[in-house]
């Protein structure tokens, strides 16, 4: 069953609305990979991502009767997962961790792009999860979800300028970690 085919999901969604636990389990199975994929970018580890996904599904089943079947279910679910992740951020990780800001000038964009091409997706995700929460939230919302800084500022309850600043710092920090990670890998390959 494809999550992006809302029509195919209709019987399942109807059963979920009627309170069928089995149908809910089925929808959970179908939608879990997609929801987890989104949640992983906002959490700092796998367990926290599962927490976000489960809380998001609780909201999904609770408000499924309000879902407009003419719209994409995947998009609706994605929005709920992101909102839940932001709630998690507010509840648990609001305090911004102070980090030593790397000197971006020492890293050229060409070097970064080369590393980017070679880096595995899971390695990249690992590095993103290592980012300070405030940086990670802005980076994911802006670079991946395509939110504007104004929207991010509203969501995270920060100034728009702070959102821009955090984004640039997050990107610089990520690039730095990517380079360090690549260098570390090179050392492992060349004894």
């Amino acid at each position: 069953m494809n999550l992006h085919q809302s029509e195919a999901l209709e019987p399942l969604i109807t059963s979920c609305i009627n309170g069928s636990r089995r149908a809910q389990n089925e929808l959970y199975k179908v939608a879990f990979p997609y929801a987890m994929n989104v949640a992983l970018r906002y959490a700092n580890d796998h367990d926290s991502s599962v927490e976000i996904v489960n809380e998001a599904f609780f909201k999904v089943f609770q408000y499924l009767k309000n879902y407009d079947a003419s719209l994409s279910f995947a998009a609706w679910l994605r929005r709920i997962v992101i909102n839940t992740a932001v709630d998690h951020y507010h509840r648990k990780q609001k305090a911004l961790t102070l980090v030593n800001f790397p000197n971006e000038e020492t890293i050229t964009d060409q070097d970064v792009n080369e590393v980017h091409e070679q880096m595995d997706a899971h390695e990249l995700l690992y590095l993103i999860q290592k980012l300070p929460p405030a940086y990670r939230m802005v980076l994911s919302l802006f670079a991946i979800e395509g939110y504007s800084h104004k929207e991010i500022a509203e969501q995270l309850q920060i100034a728009e300028g702070t959102s821009k600043s955090n984004y640039h710092k997050a990107k610089a920090y990520l690039k730095r970690m990517m380079m360090e990670h690549d260098a570390s890998n090179q050392r492992m390959i060349k004894p």
């Binding site: 019987p11 399942l12 059963s15 009627n18 309170g19 069928s20 636990r21 089995r22 149908a23 389990n25 089925e26 959970y28 199975k29 879990f32 990979p33 987890m36 994929n37 992983l40 970018r41 599962v50 996904v53 489960n54 809380e55 599904f57 609780f58 089943f61 609770q62 964009d109 060409q110 970064v112 792009n113 980017h116 091409e117 880096m119 997706a121 899971h122 990249l124 995700l125 993103i128 670079a143 991946i144 990107k171 690039k175």
Partner: protein
């Protein structure tokens, strides 16, 4: 800018390529955290029997307490009356009818009994003799001699007391007279009567006499009572990941053989019960195996609903803990016999399509299914009827069809009993 876009596009592409795998443990975690919350208000419905039982218990407790306090207040007022009358007794010329003296003393004794909590409660009230002037006027007019409508035994008592009355009038002091009258009351267990100003017994006096009748009845060593009962039983058990609930009602007859404070009760009640297991996929197999009708043979069962019809045979030994006027409290313990007449199973498959599988079972088995322990309150009406409310805890002794699924049942019962 171009390079920045490349960086973000690459980031986006790579992250979107990650496809986390679903594992059943994630759903288990979801159910453990949120599985019970989705039910909302409906989740509280199975708990109604608990709430009803708790209300009954509190009501009984409160009534007991209220009655005790009420008697205490009445006792104080009666004591004041008694003191007042003693003052009148000091004026020997005001004693027109000697019975009055005995009555006053008897009331005083009864009030003390009530204060100790062993009597039926004094009921004289301050309104009977409102002032010295009224009392004096009434006694001088001789109104207190008339006793219309009073039971014959009052007259008998007056006759029996003649000797002691004469002896008291021969003495100067009131003290010996009081003693004499108390002795007479204790020896002959006489009834009391208080006169109103116009010489007719007041309503309170009539009640007093009735109360004495109750007391006399209580002194009987045994009696037989029979009655009808209406009961509700229910329990909900929320386990780790699934919910089992049982609710039902029963109506029937019972009879009680009472001996002093103790009673032996047996009855027959016809009941209908609704049992349900939600989230069958999370229910351990050993629980499902106990269900007849292939609970494990059918895949994708979401809920199991069982309607059972039972003949319940409660047998219990009761003990009257207290009795104050018409109100009594009692405790009882016993066993619940359970004859399972018929069970109807419904297996609900609501996904991928709504489907129900019905299965009827005629089991006709009888077991002593539960041990019972309970408390109740009763209110006597006109000494012949008793309205009772009781709450019971039933502990399972062994499996009896769908009843065996209930670890325990909580019950509340309304009874109407007729004394013979």
């Amino acid at each position: 800018m171009m390079e920045n876009n490349t960086f973000e596009e690459q980031l986006n592409r790579k992250l979107n390529s990650i496809q986390p795998e679903y594992q059943p443990k994630y759903w288990d975690q979801y159910m453990a955290t949120y599985g019970k919350k989705r039910r909302g208000l409906a989740a509280f419905l199975p708990f109604l029997p608990y709430a009803f039982s708790a209300i009954l218990f509190v009501l009984g407790w409160w009534l007991h307490d209220y009655t005790s306090n009420h008697d205490r207040r009445t006792t104080s007022a009666a004591t004041t009356d008694t003191l007042y009358v003693f003052e009148q007794v000091n004026h020997r010329d005001t004693i027109v009818v000697r019975d009055t003296l005995y009555i006053v003393q008897y009331q005083s004794e009864k009030n003390n009994s009530a204060r100790r909590g062993v009597g039926l409660g004094a009921n004289t009230g301050g309104a009977l003799l409102t002032s010295n002037a009224q009392y004096k006027e009434a006694t001088q007019q001789g109104n207190t001699t008339a006793q219309p409508g009073h039971p014959p035994r009052t007259e008998k008592r007056a006759e029996q007391n003649t000797a002691s009355e004469e002896s008291t009038t021969e003495k100067d002091s009131d003290e010996p007279r009081v003693k004499e009258s108390e002795t007479t009351r204790e020896e002959k267990n006489e009834e009391s009567l208080v006169q109103s100003n116009n010489g007719t017994p007041t309503q309170r006096v009539v009640e007093k006499v009735d109360s004495s009748d109750v007391e006399e009845k209580q002194n009987k060593s045994w009696d037989i009572r029979g009655g009808v009962g209406l009961g509700v039983l229910g329990v909900t058990q929320i386990r780790d990941n699934y919910i089992e609930s049982s609710q039902g009602g029963a109506v029937g007859l019972h009879a009680t053989l009472s001996f002093q404070r103790f009673g032996l009760r047996a009855g027959a009640y016809y009941g209908a019960f609704h049992h349900e297991i939600d989230d069958v996929e999370l229910t351990p197999a050993d629980r499902l195996l106990a269900y007849p009708g292939h609970a494990l043979a059918v895949n994708n069962i979401d809920d199991i609903v069982v309607m059972s019809r039972n003949l319940l045979i409660p047998m219990s030994l009761s003990w009257r803990v207290f009795q104050q006027r018409q109100l009594m409290g009692y405790a009882h313990t016993g066993v619940l016999g359970n004859w399972l007449i018929r069970e109807n199973f419904r297996y609900v498959l609501d996904f991928p399509e709504d489907q129900q599988i019905d299965f009827n079972a005629n089991t006709s088995s009888f077991v002593l299914s539960h041990a019972s322990l309970g408390i109740g309150i009763g209110y006597e009406i006109k000494q012949k009827w008793q309205l009772g409310l009781e709450t019971n805890y039933y502990h399972p002794l062994g499996a009896s069809g769908s009843f065996g699924f209930s670890k325990a049942l909580i019950g509340a019962q309304l009874t109407l009993i007729r004394s013979f």
